[in-house]
């Protein structure tokens, strides 16, 4: 709720760095960077939902994997890319509407259950319906109908450009009157109703927005990575996204981006150890225990701001969200 200059600068720094990468790095790193941006988008999608609106989606991978798979299915059958993208958007809309409707309707813990179930059943479906999805083997997009037709730098720029556009839009949303309504729904649903807000509609809307962001990430993933597996829809990834967001610091956008980058990178680095999930798990437990507001809330000890004993820090007179 309280806007700080430091976070403002951190955001700008992240965006600028992301955009400058391609100028300095060899191709291999560009792939990695593009990957991180895609995961960051998925993290943002959940932060909008969980961080800003307080809606605990444990099925975010469904919104990521469905459009990715749709693209794969259309393209691997020789369909043109534009049709594939349109179909992906349509499929995402159907899934997001259905999941959003039922998750909102059941509310509370029901939101977790419905989203998790969606992710799990789609994962199972992708495994079983081999004719459509390739089952365990997954799908592979032909080079010609993916971003691989572009040079690596151009591919990266597409991903980075879309990524920063989404980040910018999400920040705008978070700080707008709409963000204020989300904060109010998160903080006191009943009061929102008493003030005349249609809480269910707001929840459905923000679920759709979040699904849209996750969908952009999914589509980019399909077009850049080109290899699709059922894991992209599954509860494993869905849960991991929740960890990214909490690890980095919910309701900050930048925190979840950092959380995703850190977690994914650590996973790759530690991959060689057999017990690496344990290490990641312990890291998560440590953060939740000692830095419950996430890594982004940590400051070097010398610079830690003293809180005034009376009430929270003042925030500027605008909507002051973000």
């Amino acid at each position: 709720m309280v806007r700080s200059g430091g976070r403002e600068r951190a955001t700008t720094a992240v965006v600028v760095l992301a955009l400058l990468c391609p100028l300095a790095l060899p191709d291999f790193y560009l792939y990695t960077a593009a990957d991180l941006i895609i995961w960051a988008l998925l993290a943002i999608s959940l932060d909008v939902l969980l961080g800003y609106a307080g809606l605990p989606s444990f099925g975010q991978a469904a919104f990521f994997g469905v459009p990715a798979y749709t693209i794969g299915i259309v393209v691997s059958r020789g369909g043109p890319l534009t049709l594939a993208i349109l179909a992906a958007i349509a499929a995402l809309l159907v899934i997001a509407m259905a999941v959003g409707y039922f998750a909102t309707k059941t509310g509370g813990v029901g939101y977790i259950v419905v989203t998790m179930l969606a992710s799990f059943s789609l994962f199972q479906l992708a495994l079983v319906w081999t004719g459509l999805t390739g089952g365990e083997n997954g799908l592979y997009l032909p080079r010609a109908s993916s971003l691989a037709v572009l040079r690596v730098r151009a591919q990266y720029l597409v991903v980075a450009g879309l990524g920063s556009a989404v980040l910018w839009a999400s920040r705008r949303l978070a700080r707008s009157g709409y963000g204020l309504a989300l904060a109010a729904v998160k903080s006191n649903e009943r009061r929102c109703r008493a003030l005349g807000y249609n809480v269910e509609r707001i929840k459905l809307q923000v679920t759709l927005v979040s699904a849209g962001i996750a969908g952009i990430a999914g589509i980019l993933y399909a077009l850049v990575e080109r290899a699709l597996a059922p894991d992209l829809l599954g509860p494993g990834l869905s849960t991991e996204v929740v960890i990214w967001v909490l690890l980095g610091g919910a309701q900050t956008l930048v925190g979840p981006i950092m959380g995703a980058a850190l977690f994914v990178t650590l996973k790759q680095v530690l991959n060689t150890f057999e017990s690496y999930p344990l290490v990641l798990g312990l890291l998560f437990v440590a953060v939740v225990t000692w830095a419950p507001a996430g890594l982004i809330a940590l400051r070097p000890p010398g610079r830690r701001r003293r809180r005034s004993p009376g009430g929270p820090r003042p925030s500027p007179p605008e909507t002051g969200l973000g």
């Binding site: 705008r172 707008s176 904060a183 006191n188 009061r191 109703r193 008493a194 003042p314 007179p317 909507t319």
Partner: protein, 236 residues
């Protein structure tokens, strides 16, 4: 109104006339809060009808009742943790503009300014940037009323607005309610009988989920039943 096997309101017939201040008094547990919940749409009655302005609103959800002009304050001030007073008021004000206006920066700034000036009018400018839940109890109850009034409701339901306030705060709020009464229909639930008597046009006395006496302040004051119930219970 029933909660499972417990009947909390029964055979209750309440008519609030436009323009009046209608007070509801009664001992704790009489069902006053429950009645306001039912009127505002917080609770769905297990039987009976509610009409507002001639329209049947029994099954109209709470948010739409608020939009029809039903404002309310809660007995227990539990506002918006993490949201400042100014933001809360801005939230109340933006309700009637379409969602796409919520995204407009200019529009938001405008509403934020209006929110601030409304807080100034209410004498709460110093709280503008404080979190709603960090205010003192009395201030939270005051903010509740400012919030409820933001959209100029036609009917205002106040649930014990003075409970937990200091004597001077009570007097101040009493004067405000009297001022409001000139423009607004008000249903006022409160324990401060003297205050209620001096503000209300009509008073309903509730006991065990029923209205046992209803009339003008002087009628109620004279009623033996009201004295027995109210004073008896209050002294118990």
């Amino acid at each position: 109104m029933r909660f499972g096997p417990f009947t909390v309101l029964s055979e209750l017939d309440l008519e609030v006339r436009a323009g009046e201040v209608h007070a509801i008094i009664g001992p704790n547990g009489a069902g006053k809060t429950t009645l306001l919940h039912v009127l505002a749409g917080d609770l769905l009655p297990s039987a009976g009808r509610i009409r507002f302005d001639g329209k049947d609103i029994t099954f109209v959800p709470m948010y739409r009742r608020a939009r029809l002009g039903l404002g309310r304050s809660y007995q227990i001030a539990r506002l918006f943790p993490g949201v400042t007073c100014q933001q809360a008021l801005q939230l109340a004000l933006q309700r009637d503009s379409p969602a796409r206006d919520w995204l407009s920066r200019g529009r938001c700034r405008l509403l934020a300014e209006r929110a601030l000036s409304m807080l100034e009018t209410a004498g709460m400018a110093q709280c503008a940037h404080q979190e709603t839940t960090s205010l003192s109890h009395g201030l939270q109850k005051q903010l509740e009323i400012v919030l409820a009034l933001a959209n100029e409701p036609r009917l205002l339901l106040l649930d014990e607005p003075m409970a937990g306030m200091s004597a001077s705060e009570r007097i101040e709020l009493g004067a405000r309610i009297r001022l409001l009464a000139a423009r607004q229909t008000i249903v006022l639930v409160d324990h401060d009988i003297e205050m209620v008597m001096s503000i209300a046009d009509r008073i309903s006395v509730m006991h065990n989920g029923r209205i046992v006496v209803e009339g003008s302040p002087s009628e109620v004051r004279a009623s033996r039943i009201a004295q027995a119930i109210y004073l008896g219970a209050a002294n118990a």
